[in-house]
C-alpha cells in the first residue's frame, strides 16, 4: 500500500509513519504501515480486534519501540525523542484511565500537575471543563460514582487538558450509549476545531463517517486509506461498514 499525499501539501504533518513494523517473536503485529496525518485532522484508525491497531498506537505514543521503519509524531522521532513526544500528546487508553477513588476535581488536578500546568491554569481550566461538561455540581464526587458516559467524556477532557498537539484515543466510546457517543464526538470536533489533531480507533463504523480520513487495518497492514467518501466509491459500497466487511473478510486474524 502506498502512502497517499497528505491532506494538504502545505500543512504540517502531525504524524508521519513510514514502513512502521513491530514483530513479537515470529508474529508481525504491525507490518510495514505507511501513512500520515495532517495537523488538525480527525483520523480514524479502524480494524478488527487483533488487526494491530493498539500496537500501532503504542508505537506512536512511545510505549513500545518499532522493530523496523520510522515515525515522527508532532515532528519528533518515536525512537529517539520520546520525551518531547510525551509533552505534546494526550492519550486515552482502552481502559478507563481516571482514578475512581479520587474526585472529579482531584483527577483534573493530578493530570494538570503531571503535565506541568501552573496552579492558576489548573484552576481556570478546571472551571471551563466542568462548565462545558455540566459537571460543576459533581466536581467533588468520586469519579467511581459517575455514570460511564460521563466518565468517558471526563477522561477525554482530561486527556485534552494540557492542550496537546495530538490526542490518541484508543476505542474511547466502547460500551457507551448512542447519545453519549454523539456528545463525545462533539467534544472531538471541538478539539479538532481548536487545532488538536485527533487519532482515534473505533469499532463503530458510523463513527468512521465522522472522520476526515480513515485507514482500515487488516492483519497488521493498512488495507485501505482515504476519506470515507473515497473509500465508499473505491469499493462501491454505501457505508464504511460495507467497505470494512469486504476488507476484513479475507483477514487471518479476524475473530
Amino acid at each position: 500500500m502506498t502512502a497517499p499525499a497528505p491532506a494538504s501539501a502545505t500543512r504540517e504533518l502531525a504524524i508521519d509513519a513510514k514502513n512502521l513494523t513491530r514483530r513479537f517473536g515470529t508474529f508481525t503485529a504491525v507490518d510495514h504501515i505507511t501513512f500520515n496525518v495532517g495537523a488538525g485532522e480527525v483520523f480514524g484508525f479502524l480494524g478488527a480486534n487483533g488487526a494491530g491497531k493498539t500496537t500501532a498506537i503504542k508505537i506512536l505514543v512511545g510505549l513500545i519501540a518499532p522493530t523496523e521503519g520510522e515515525a515522527r509524531v508532532a515532528g519528533f522521532d518515536v525512537r529517539t525523542q520520546r520525551a518531547q513526544i510525551r509533552r505534546n500528546i494526550g492519550y486515552m487508553s482502552q481502559k478507563f484511565s481516571l482514578y475512581g477513588d479520587l474526585t472529579v476535581r482531584e483527577n483534573i488536578q493530578l493530570y494538570g500537575g503531571i503535565y506541568a500546568l501552573t496552579d492558576a491554569q489548573i484552576r481556570d481550566r478546571t472551571k471551563v471543563l466542568l462548565d462545558s461538561l455540566g459537571l460543576t455540581a459533581s466536581a467533588d464526587d468520586l469519579v467511581a460514582s459517575l455514570p460511564l458516559g460521563w466518565k468517558q467524556k471526563l477522561a477525554l477532557s482530561v486527556a485534552l487538558l494540557h492542550e496537546p498537539k495530538i490526542v490518541f484515543l484508543d476505542e474511547p466510546t466502547g460500551g457507551v450509549d448512542p447519545i453519549t457517543r454523539r456528545q463525545f464526538w462533539e467534544l472531538i470536533y471541538a478539539a479538532a476545531a481548536g487545532g488538536t489533531t485527533v487519532f482515534v480507533t473505533t469499532h463503530y463504523m458510523d463513527e468512521a463517517e465522522y472522520c476526515d480520513r480513515i485507514s482500515i487495518m487488516v492483519d497488521g497492514r493498512i488495507a485501505a486509506l482515504g476519506t470515507p467518501a473515497e473509500l465508499k466509491k473505491q469499493y462501491d459500497a454505501t457505508t464504511v461498514d460495507d467497505v470494512f466487511v469486504r476488507l476484513a473478510r479475507g483477514a487471518k486474524a479476524a475473530e
Binding site: V61, G62, L63, I64, A65, R82, A83, R86, R87, I89, Y91, M92, S93, Q94, K95, F96, S97, L98, Y99, D101, L102, E106, Q109, L110, Y111, G112, G113, I114, Y115, A116
Partner: protein, 369 residues
C-alpha cells in the same frame, strides 16, 4: 526534573491511601496486633518449667539456690542427683526442661575469691521456649547472687548456659526485631506491589507512562507514602513491645529508624519488581507473599535460627534482606551496639536497596526491546 509532576503524583498517592480507611486502619493496627499476639503466644506455654538439679556436693549455698527454684511459681524441681548421668535420659524423654548443675565446692567459691560456677543446660528444641526458660533461670540465679552480694559483698556466680539441641539462642526478646522486619516487609513490599499492580490492571499506568511523568517519578511517588507508613509501624511495634512486654531498647532509636528506612527501601523495591512481573493484583499479592513474606519469616533467623538450618540451606539466607536487618535490629535493641559493629550488615542492605531500586526503575521503562 519536573517536580510539579512528582508533587501532583504524590498528592494522588496520599489520597488513595487516606481514602481507603479500612486498609489504612488495618495497616496501622497490624504491628500492635502482631506484637501482642506473638508476645503472648511466645510466653503462654512457659510455666511449670521442670528443673533437674545436679548437686555433687550439697552445701548451704546450693541448697539456698535450689530452694529458690522450688519456691518459684514458674519452676518445679523434678529430680536432684549428685551426678550428671541422670540428666541425659531425662532430657531425651522430655521429662526435664532445664538442668541446673553446680560445680563441686560451689558454696566454698561463693565465700572465696573465685567465681562460683554453675551450668544451665536448657532444652531448646523449641527455640522460643528455650530462650524464655533460660532467661527465667538466669533471673532466679541473678536475684540470689545480688542478695548474697548485698550481705557479703563481691560475690560472683557465673552461670554458663548450654542450649541443648539449639545452641545459638540469646534472648527472650529476639522476636521483636524480627517482627519489625516482618511488619516492614508486609507494608512495604505487599502494599507497593498491590498498589502498582492495581494501576497496571486498570490501565492507568499506561496513561502515566505516556505522560511526562518518568518511571522514577512513579516509583518515588509510590514508595514515599508507604515509607511514611512503615515508619509509623516501626514506632508502634517498638512502643507495643516496650509497654506490653517490657522489651528493652538498649541502643540508638535513631540508628534503628535509619536502618529501617534502608530495609523498607529494599522491600519497596521488591514490591515494585513483583508488580512489574505480575499482571493482576491477586498475582502480585501472592507473589509478594512468596518472594518476601515467607523468606522473611522462615529464612531470616526470625523464628528458626540460621545456625540450626541444614548446611545447604543456611548459605541461601545471605540473599534474604530480612536476615541482615534482623541482625542489625537485634544488635541495636538488645546489645545496644552502634554502627561500628553493624556497618557490614548495613552496607549489604544499602547495596541491596540501590541495586533493587535501579532494577525497579528499569522494570517500568516502557518495553523497548
Amino acid at each position: 526534573m519536573n517536580t510539579g509532576a512528582l508533587r501532583a503524583f504524590l498528592i494522588k498517592e496520599l489520597r488513595h491511601i487516606l481514602r481507603d480507611r479500612q486498609t489504612l486502619t488495618i495497616l496501622l493496627l497490624m504491628p500492635l496486633v502482631q506484637v501482642v499476639l506473638f508476645g503472648f503466644a511466645l510466653r503462654s506455654d512457659v510455666r511449670n518449667i521442670r528443673v533437674a538439679v545436679v548437686d555433687p556436693s550439697p552445701d548451704y549455698a546450693t541448697i539456698a539456690l535450689r530452694s529458690r527454684f522450688m519456691t518459684s511459681t514458674r519452676f518445679q524441681v523434678v529430680s536432684v542427683t549428685n551426678t550428671t548421668d541422670a540428666i541425659e535420659p531425662l532430657f531425651r524423654r522430655g521429662d526435664a526442661d532445664v538442668a541446673l548443675m553446680f560445680e563441686p565446692g560451689f558454696g566454698n567459691h561463693i565465700v572465696g575469691a573465685e567465681p562460683a560456677r554453675l551450668l544451665l543446660a536448657v532444652d531448646a528444641s523449641d527455640p522460643n521456649t528455650g530462650t524464655v526458660i533460660q532467661s527465667y533461670a538466669r533471673a532466679v540465679i541473678a536475684s540470689y547472687e545480688s542478695e548474697v552480694s548485698a550481705t557479703r559483698g563481691g560475690v560472683q556466680i557465673t552461670p554458663e548456659v548450654r542450649m541443648r539441641f539449639n545452641p545459638t539462642l540469646e534472648s527472650v526478646n529476639l522476636f521483636v526485631p524480627g517482627l519489625i522486619a516482618l511488619v516492614l516487609t508486609l507494608v512495604s513490599a505487599l502494599m507497593t506491589a498491590v498498589s502498582l499492580s492495581r494501576e497496571k490492571e486498570r490501565g492507568t499506568l499506561e496513561v502515566l507512562l505516556v505522560s511526562p511523568l518518568r518511571p522514577a517519578h512513579i516509583i518515588v511517588g509510590k514508595v514515599l507514602p508507604y515509607l511514611g507508613l512503615a515508619f509509623a509501624n516501626v514506632l508502634t511495634a517498638l512502643l507495643a513491645a516496650w509497654l506490653v512486654f517490657h522489651v528493652p531498647f538498649r541502643g540508638s532509636v535513631l540508628l534503628l529508624l535509619a536502618e529501617s528506612v534502608i530495609y523498607a527501601l529494599v522491600s519497596l523495591a521488591l514490591g515494585v519488581l513483583i508488580a512489574a512481573n505480575t499482571s493482576s493484583q491477586r498475582a502480585a499479592m501472592l507473589g509478594a507473599m512468596l518472594v518476601t513474606m515467607l523468606p522473611s519469616t522462615l529464612l531470616s533467623g526470625m523464628i528458626f535460627p540460621i545456625a540450626s538450618m541444614p548446611a545447604w540451606l543456611s548459605p541461601v539466607t545471605v540473599i534474604i534482606p530480612a536476615r541482615w536487618f534482623i541482625v542489625i535490629a537485634r544488635g541495636i535493641m538488645l546489645k545496644g551496639v552502634g554502627i561500628n559493629y553493624l556497618w557490614r550488615e548495613s552496607v549489604i542492605l544499602l547495596v541491596m536497596a540501590l541495586v533493587l531500586m535501579a532494577a525497579a526503575v528499569r522494570s517500568f521503562k516502557p518495553r523497548l526491546a
